[in-house]
Subunit: 478 residues, 3 copies
């Protein structure tokens, strides 16, 4: 079929027939070699478990950590692939790219994450010993890159995305190691290391890759009825499983239990305030799907760091309450501001869903750590939660937040500069947000197109015609 | 774009720009205050768990109830938000309202439910101590309100829905307390307390809000191809996780295990009989998506109360067998009858999916309780399952069912009367089932319009027209 | 509405108004009777558990196997109903049939599977005692029939599908019993017993039912934009939960843990090679949704048998690497070859997703079993994993693979011959892949058509135009 590209006449070459396969093969082969050298099963996933469990006060098979991490892992796994993937399907003609490229970069990222995180957490022993907990951490790590993808959605090629992911995972692993193991900050739900870092990373890249003429593609920068419904699949699975996300790597027992409860409550109150602000922001009080799809999740981001602390149920509600307001206002005022004044084009509004709530999360974590008292935690509980003095811990939390921001922005600018090279096959400004650039799209368009051509043949003047068939194509095909 | 409202000229003011935000803010702030006063973590989600577990025969962290309730909780959570939400997306132009308002009222309802249920189950101690089991119960409670939403889908404003939920949750908590704690009936899967109550509540409201001229909106009272596929997402997740729903709050051990098995079997046989009746009811034996989307779930409703009893696998199959037939016949005959003769307009047919099967479930529960024998249960098992004499238990089960019906109908009439006030911004009769009333809807419609114009202008002969429109059909209809 | 059938004039009678209900009722009643005679709860789901657990070193309720199998079961359950169902919704006008018939045959199949597998695994004791593990096995068994459905998708009637499932489940149970209990091969993830058998069964049936004039329906043999997005729901849930699928029935402890890890890794590397080959195979390097939807899953199939072995992380990556390539090349070259030269019409390309990868999985299993050493497994580990000598085990694995192929092809030919009888109400060659044959489809098509006509006929005075296009809008926009 003749794609839109031909009819509009693109300035750029988006042929990735050699680049994409080359990158995929090279990197996958590299993964195989590195896994061969470094990665082994740990004592709980190795056949030597039989001997191992005897040494550990005669563990039984059902005490294998698998049974206490795997359900949370699966929830997180669904969030990464279905949640993030479908959340980004809202564009009328970029659903394939949203869910497909999300799939591609996540599948690559988790492999590289297992290595990077493994190297950092398994010094000394030459081998990286993996179990289900490592898989959760790998999913978390990739999450930060998928957040970044949200900022550049529709404006980059899959090759750029793979480079972005390779660098993003690397930066994440260093960043996380510094925050958790050097600074000894706590960040169970990754408000700082995942959301703040990922969002800053993505926004910085988007800033470097600024496209002054992007409005040439604005016919495609919007949703159709069913693409919005698809996006709700992503929203709901993210919302539902967020309690698992924030509790997945907490230490077993009350901490994990509490993290799930706090997240559940924070998310619930976010929904009400998001709806309220969305309705206030529109004429006649109509709701905007963009706000419902995104801002309702902000509470989960913001409660991440403090989820395992004694935030108290009402504390969680307050965090959610504020984030729903801030995030929705972000979509109404901040996103246009960023584009107009700071030249940051943020397709999915990750600033409102991940950056601002992530920073709030870091601050909430610092405050609630600094304010921790023996009265609330109990002497043993306090000691178990905070190895160092609470007030000191608060300072370290704040330091962790700064590290995440610095790594995100710095890394993003560096990577963005690389991605600016004209070798990656990214789309032209009049050709963004369009699946036809990188996907074989089924031929309903051709049909519509043909119809449009038929019309052209008759008397109407070219200009109106052109516009018509254009609208026709883009709007009619849901 | 010009909305329908403008073109049809609605008589009613559906502007909720002040009402909706006001209600959301007031109620969310109230939640925060009440949670601040009453809600705390229980011993398993509190940092004092460290001391607590020592007192309890030296529990280990992995014996925290979190690990034995949380997977079931997540399944139930998916049912409430994805299951109920998407099941109602079948209408051609009300998918946003279905999944979006479901999201809103569920998120508000779970908070209020934690308080209401907490107050009833934590007399004496001033505080409500929450853990994952409370979250499950809150989800259950909200479930009954979402069932009620099904009856009024497309005919009420979000403000009315929030009022409906506030009252529904309140009534549910009282109703449930009476059934379980006063009458001491058993209702693991909530056939009585959730489904019968919720359906009666919704139908009563719908009866009070009867719209004689609703057929003015009947152009929108139907599905399109893809809206039916979206609805199947809801159907399948409800169907799949129903075993978790019916077993989620059973006491640990064989009861929970058995409840899951019975539900799995009941649902399986429901599918076959639903398909059979659906095919019989249509010319040429074609299947009706409405039946497949809804009636296939009736078995799960009906087996709820008796799920943890020794219903026996074949007993579960029989229950499912009957409900598939009754529920499908309900869609064919009862729903039209209710609308025509009883003036009950039931958008989703909750009478067929929740009311009738729920009542059957209550009866099945009463019979199987009354018929329980020591031979089947074993002496200890019988004592553990039924504190009182089986025959007596049967009577109490029946009493519980009556309570649920009375509360549902009575409460529904009362609440419906309040919702009838002309202050809630509900849509006009010619404007129901339309997302444009409360949502910003993207503008593909206008485009289709433009195109229709073009076809008109050209003079192509019938034949070409035919061919064109044929292609048009196949390619365009997604 | 006049369906496509009428406009094209079908030669065949597709009325199943008596056949389908008859089959459903007869088989469901048969299930009830057989369950009444044979099926009971096992000691973990029976009220006698109370006595039972005392006899077993005083088990506590939370040691009931329910808590260690149920989460995996639910993941598998989602794969069977949502995963397989939505994966097949990619056709533009067969989404109802894909997800609806998948639902029907799976719901019937699991009941019959519980009986067939029960009879084989509970000789001696007259009763079949079921628990959650049996439910997992029943889901597995049905999986093989759903794979077979993929080959005949859109070309058979629901009655044929039910017959196909009845026979398929029967054959599967025998086949599985021979492989696991007679030959003592190991097949945790069912590469041989589920995928190879199921695919051979389906392909053989499709070969017998070859339709020389199928291209008369080729207007419908393709996707539209949103049907491809729906299919991605299936793809992702299959991909995500495959680790649960391959580990669900492993013995508890390290084996189950390792199976999940190996599957996770194999699937990750499959994605990259599938994308690479897909891009290479197309002009301009555009990706093909068919490859992304299917080939990305091949790694999970191929790692099934060896998942619980000490395949090593890099070994899993290598398996996935190869399968992504082979499966994608299969879609590009093998499927057309099969249709052209072997007269096998394979709608979903199950040969590429299940047959070839399944056989590879069997071979990988045989090799890795034969190569097992005490050095890698540890003496106790080796003994626990392989009762017989590794090299011998390898031979038995290979034998198991052959059995699966023979049963699949032989059974498929036999069943296909029965299905060829002209009594089953299957569609005509010009009427395949069309939901209107067996489903009530909403009337947007007629509307669009009518509207086009109206516009032509009247000389379009703006006003009437307006009204017409209004209907148009509401029906056309999905």
């Amino acid at each position: 079929m003749y794609g839109l590209c031909d009819s509009f006449g693109c300035s750029k070459n988006t042929n990735i027939r050699l680049k994409l396969p080359a990158v995929c093969f090279i990197w996958q082969i590299a993964m195989i070699i590195l896994f061969g050298i470094f990665v082994r099963y740990n004592e709980e996933s190795d056949t030597h478990w039989i001997e191992h469990k005897k040494t550990k006060r005669n563990l039984s098979d059902i005490e294998n950590d698998f049974y206490y991490r795997y359900p949370s892992f699966q929830d997180v796994h669904v969030m990464i692939f279905v949640g993030f993937g479908f959340l980004m399907t809202f564009l009328k003609r970029y659903s394939f790219g949203a869910v497909g490229f999300n799939f591609l970069i996540a599948a690559f990222g988790i492999q590289w994450a297992l290595l990077m995180q493994g190297w950092f957490h398994s010094f000394g022993t030459g081998k990286i010993l993996i179990a289900v907990e490592n898989l959760i951490n790998a999913d978390f790590c990739v999450g930060s890159c998928l957040i970044a993808y949200g900022a550049v959605l529709g404006k980059v090629s899959p090759v750029q995305l793979l480079v972005m992911t390779l660098c993003g995972v690397t930066l994440f692993a260093i960043d996380e190691f510094i925050i958790l193991n050097v600074i000894h900050a706590k960040d169970a739900g990754g408000s700082m290391s995942i959301h703040t870092f990922g969002a800053c990373y993505g926004l910085a890249i988007s800033w470097v890759l600024y496209r002054p003429d992007l409005n040439q593609s604005k016919r495609l920068l919007g949703s159709v009825y069913h693409s919005d419904v698809f996006a709700m699949i992503g929203t709901l699975f993210l919302w539902l499983f967020w309690p698992s996300f924030n509790s997945a790597i907490c230490s077993h027992g009350d901490g994990q239990h509490r993290a799930a409860i706090n997240t559940y409550l924070a998310l619930a109150s976010t929904v009400l305030t998001s709806v309220a602000i969305s309705s206030l922001s529109k004429d006649k009080g109509k709701l905007d799907m963009v706000h419902i799809q995104n801002s309702t999740l902000a509470g989960g981001v913001a409660v991440g760091t403090a989820a395992e602390f004694m935030l108290m149920p009402y504390g969680a509600l307050i965090v959610g309450f504020c984030c729903g307001i801030i995030s929705t206002l972000g979509y109404v005022y901040v996103t246009p501001f960023l584009e107009k004044n700071l030249k940051i084009q943020d397709t999915c509004g990750i600033n409102n869903l991940h950056c601002m709530p992530g920073i709030i999360g870091g601050i909430v974590g610092a405050i609630s750590a600094a304010g921790a008292t023996e009265y609330v935690y109990g002497s043993e509980g306090l000691a178990a939660m905070f190895p160092m003095v609470p007030r000191l811990q608060g300072g370290h939390q704040a330091a962790g937040l700064c590290v995440a921001i610095v790594f995100g922005i710095g890394g993003g600018i560096a990577v963005g500069t690389v991605l600016k090279l004209p070798i990656w096959g990214d789309p032209a400004d009049d050709n963004c947000f369009d699946d036809e650039v990188y996907w074989e799209v089924s031929s309903e368009i051709l049909a519509a197109d043909l119809c449009a051509w038929k019309m052209l043949e008759n008397k109407c003047n070219r200009l109106r015609q052109q516009t018509c068939s254009k609208y026709y194509l883009y709007y009619l095909i849901p």
